[in-house]
Subunit: 597 residues, 2 copies
Amino acid sequence: MPVYQAPVNDTLFILNDVLGLERYGNLPGFADATPDMIEAIVGEAARVAEEALFPLNLSGDKQGCTRNADGTVSVPDGFKQAYDQYCQGGWIGLAVPEEFGGQGLPYTLHAAVGEYMSSANMSLMMYPGLTQGAIAAIIVHGSPEQKATYLPKMVAGTWSGTMNLTEPHCGTDLGLLRTKAVPQADGSYKISGQKIFISAGEHSMTDNIVHLVLARIEGAPEGTKGISLFIVPKFMVEEDGSLGARNTVACGAIEEKMGIHGNATCVMNYDEAKGFLIGAENKGLAAMFVMMNEARLGVGLQGLSIAETAYQNAVSYARERIQGRSLSGVKNPDGKADPIIVHPDIRRSLMTIRAFNEAGRAFLLWTALKSDIAHRSPDEAERQNADDLLGLATPILKGVLTDKGFDHAVMAQQVFGGHGYIEEHGMSQYVRDARITMIYEGANGIQALDLVGRKLALNGGRAVMAMFKEIGDFCEENRGDEAMVPYTKALKKGLNDLQAATMWFMQNAMAKPDNAGAGSTDYMHLFGLVTLGYMWAKMAKAAQEKLAAGDAREDYLKNKLITAKFFMEKVMPETVLRKARIEAGAESLMEFSAEAF
Amino acid sequence: MPVYQAPVNDTLFILNDVLGLERYGNLPGFADATPDMIEAIVGEAARVAEEALFPLNLSGDKQGCTRNADGTVSVPDGFKQAYDQYCQGGWIGLAVPEEFGGQGLPYTLHAAVGEYMSSANMSLMMYPGLTQGAIAAIIVHGSPEQKATYLPKMVAGTWSGTMNLTEPHCGTDLGLLRTKAVPQADGSYKISGQKIFISAGEHSMTDNIVHLVLARIEGAPEGTKGISLFIVPKFMVEEDGSLGARNTVACGAIEEKMGIHGNATCVMNYDEAKGFLIGAENKGLAAMFVMMNEARLGVGLQGLSIAETAYQNAVSYARERIQGRSLSGVKNPDGKADPIIVHPDIRRSLMTIRAFNEAGRAFLLWTALKSDIAHRSPDEAERQNADDLLGLATPILKGVLTDKGFDHAVMAQQVFGGHGYIEEHGMSQYVRDARITMIYEGANGIQALDLVGRKLALNGGRAVMAMFKEIGDFCEENRGDEAMVPYTKALKKGLNDLQAATMWFMQNAMAKPDNAGAGSTDYMHLFGLVTLGYMWAKMAKAAQEKLAAGDAREDYLKNKLITAKFFMEKVMPETVLRKARIEAGAESLMEFSAEAF
């Protein structure tokens, strides 16, 4: 049977000892997040994830969703009850401002518990996850009336939300979208068109579904400059807040997918559905990007989440499966063979996943904290710096944690041998589910382009210089610390590679933009390696300080140092490869004619 | 709709221009394989693959296999007809000696056409594929009577074969196996036990199924020294060759798997089934390894096969899908966007897959030719050298072509964006099917251990030295050739890394075997990179010679050189990373206690 235990101790170590959350007591909502409070919330989240969500993960994959003849959609057994329990626990509104019915706690805390929930049941968590993104867009761009109408119900989870961007002929290139909006006399719009790949598009778990839909108002300019964002509720909302007529939006089909079978991924047909403009006319893309940026962090989180569950199951199997003998002598003399966890090649897989997960968790929470600072700090310079780093980190977090999350789900599956290929152990599901995270909310190639093409040069490179400074300063500050040398030396080397690659882009991509595109994915991973290396150096520092102070978590902290060493020795050398590929440029990629492939 | 076109031109280039097959006319069967004959056979194989097998690939995945209430197993619609067509074409016996009903043609040719067949429909091809392995074992270890009884029917495909190794508690470690064989007065044995993951274990496509089963004769020693191999026919064979009673072997269940749904992967229950010893008592593992080594080449071939089909579909989609504009200026001014094949990051994926596939194809055929030489050459020294290189290449071919084949199926799927995640385009199937190739016939971690733990030191390192010499000689011979420098320089650098890593093992793994295990997977990939780099250098040389001679395939040959350059610039630098990881040793892997993970 699959296993999952939320890594509570690791979360607390990062929040308290690495990021020092208590230092941010001046930010709104942070004063309430005392160490005791955090421990209680994280512990309760672990319970919900382990007991309510995880037991439905494998069965949800097996059963999947069904579109019924009447156009309704059935979700897997038990999903509704577990969803209700999640909502009643107040988890959707954990970090939503109190004025909209939330608890106003740090977003960092929301990210911490979000990892557990997605580890336990990613498909189920997508229903409130999409709502979360819609809430964010309405908070930023909604009118006071729209906020009052929709937010409290969505925060409570009695209504859910969706994002409707993709059409059959356009995903990445939203400028091509055709869904049209015709203005009506009452100020509303009639929305017509087809949207595909709509997660949580139709289901009966909530009383209403609030679709946020990109469409083009009749007569609007072509391309991305003519796109507006609309609220299209499944059921119309009356003046008194009660539900009225069914809107003319319907699920035409459910996509047959490789994974996330528990999530209802729908083709949505809008047939003169009544919609309401949110934000300014023709500024829909900006409004959508509020959702998108939030969603990208959420998808990076999913990559980590699945890799963590896959890791735990691989460890459990490796401890129990008896096969072969240790190369360095029998370890289990009473048995006919040793548990496979004695084999170095099995440990290579386990340590690789573990080292990425722990650094990935730190990176996620570090980024979430930047988001909190960017949105809540009273100091403008601090806000700007945090916002710069958040914008820079978002595509890296999304791209790297999902690429690696998938690779590591595959690696964990491999530990099971043939037993990993059959569905019963759940390893196939982790791989199939993780696969989508590399694709949705902007395929990872798009994340890489966002990083190289937009984020790098933004404001004269302010963000990237801030990041280099932060890491460089860390190395400099710890120069005299002998015990830190194994970590800072490898980190500095990685940083040098990253800076050299950045310089190479400056010198070679202006005149020939294909050089930027050719190296973008390698650059994203290079940046990810250095950032994760930085997280490991910070964790090593915290572990050493705690050990020196006689902290009771001695084994835990020593294992942190071993894993940090592993990362520096076995993973960081990849920066050399990434840099070499970037510097090889676009030439050998662009010489082929399209027909020659 | 999915597309597939067999890469006939590329096969012919490798066979004729790179490997120079006509130089081996002195080997039995090679004289018949004239260039015209090869072209005809390869062309006919392409037709069968494209027209008979490929159209059933997606539908076979969707429908899957079913175990009926009476214990029979149904395969997907159309499989039986396509299988019959394949058998009637004489494809199973292409390289089987004429005395057993085959055509005695080169195994190299069998490998060449095998790629197409597996590209077109891997699940379907597993039925004759398993037969092939069983034929090989019976040829080497069977008695004259067994050969006469089984081989002609199996070569004709009217009977099929299986390999029964794995049991629920043992896969890699066959020493643990429990299936028992009790000697009977008539010289036969009663076989009892359960085998799992048995490909093509039960179906009605053939009149009989010849199970080759590993079991332990009562009283035999424990461990691998007490294992024997048995023939257990589904239907008993009478003296006159007709079929008699149904044997007591039955399919207990069909495994629910991530992929290869068209293949009937069975739990097989042996209940005092009548079996016949093949080969010597307690020497079953040696007999089984005849099948296993053949099967490992076949699985490496599958890795290449799926990557090729996935590549072709990604190319086709990238040419048609209109999304975004080229970074270097509009390429499709009449359309609203450019085809995505203009984007460097898409080309990075396509070129990466292509470069591996073309070198992988050359490596497969180079290895197959070594097999032909090892088995057919009249010269003992030549046979020994070829057998050394075949043994060395087998785990590398299996491990590297399947690890990369899977990665590249994923990469090709990514080109489709969200459309790659839904089942209708077939990209999900390629990924799910490719996944098994990393696992079966010895998981890739086992291939790496075979390479480092067995093949490296065998006969005082004779094989590895022969390989280093062959590659080193090639670099040396082309030293004066200015046009070859871009290829030989990168190859030599990679070879140096490989030799340094080999030396590191010699110095560090004797005293501490965990160092060998810790670096084994990296070493396998390092060896693979250098070997594929060597194939590229050989292909570049052949292309340059043909171009200089005014060959009509000018575009094709020039594209070879571009792809060779891509491989050297973008792929070969990975040797540095692999070497660094190997030299980091086992320490950071082995420090954790099993409980600490």
